[in-house]
């Protein structure tokens, strides 16, 4: 089971690199915000998988709840700021 979790983790890391392409080269600022939100979602699952690999699941679950909250609030704040630009 641990090897399987390693495989899923590597797959997710690989996908983060692809989303980063859209984050760097996205024409305009809105594409970049969508990419950052997607990277945050993948990071959340990666944190939990790391917690299960190291056999300290309780610690990493608290950290990942906080990261989900901050990702949500950050995306809402960025969208609110950008809508006042024009």
């Amino acid at each position: 089971m641990v090897n399987f979790l390693y495989g899923i983790g590597f797959g997710l890391c690989f996908l983060v690199l692809f989303v980063l392409y859209r984050g760097i080269f996205g024409p305009g600022v809105f594409n970049r915000i969508a990419a950052i939100s997607a990277i945050g979602t993948k990071t959340l699952v990666l944190l939990l998988i790391m917690g299960f690999i190291y056999n300290r699941a309780e610690m990493f679950i608290d950290i990942s709840i906080v990261y989900a909250l901050l990702n949500f609030v950050g995306t809402l704040a960025a969208a609110k700021y950008l809508e006042m630009e024009k």
């Binding site: 809105f30 979602t41 709840i65 989900a68 909250l69």
Partner: protein, 104 residues
């Protein structure tokens, strides 16, 4: 290898499949609103499936209850964030992609 391990592996593979399709959509779709469609919906379902798989792997402890809390939170919060981004883009004047824009 128990039956619960098998179920957890199935859910995790399903989650990874939806992550792959959501990322492919983010890279290859034309126009901003179609890309947002792909990543907003695909990522939400993928996170939900992955977290259910990890909760089954943890068993009947307090940890799996907390993971289900995260799953319900993400299921409600991620579409709201997508809605906020698309509304802001609409007000700032980003134009949707039409088929006639493509050079024939």
């Amino acid at each position: 290898m128990d039956i619960s391990d098998l179920f957890s592996m199935l859910f995790l593979i399903g989650g990874l499949f939806f992550f792959i399709t959501a990322t492919a959509g983010l890279l290859r779709f034309p126009g901003f609103y179609t890309r947002l469609h792909a990543t907003g919906k695909g990522d939400t379902l993928a996170v939900f499936l992955c977290l259910i798989g990890l909760a089954i792997h943890a068993g009947w402890t307090l940890s799996s209850l907390k993971i289900i809390f995260i799953a319900v939170f993400m299921f409600m919060a991620q579409p709201t964030a997508t809605h906020a981004i698309s509304r802001a883009a609409m007000k700032a004047g980003v134009k949707p992609w039409m088929k006639k824009d493509e050079p024939q």
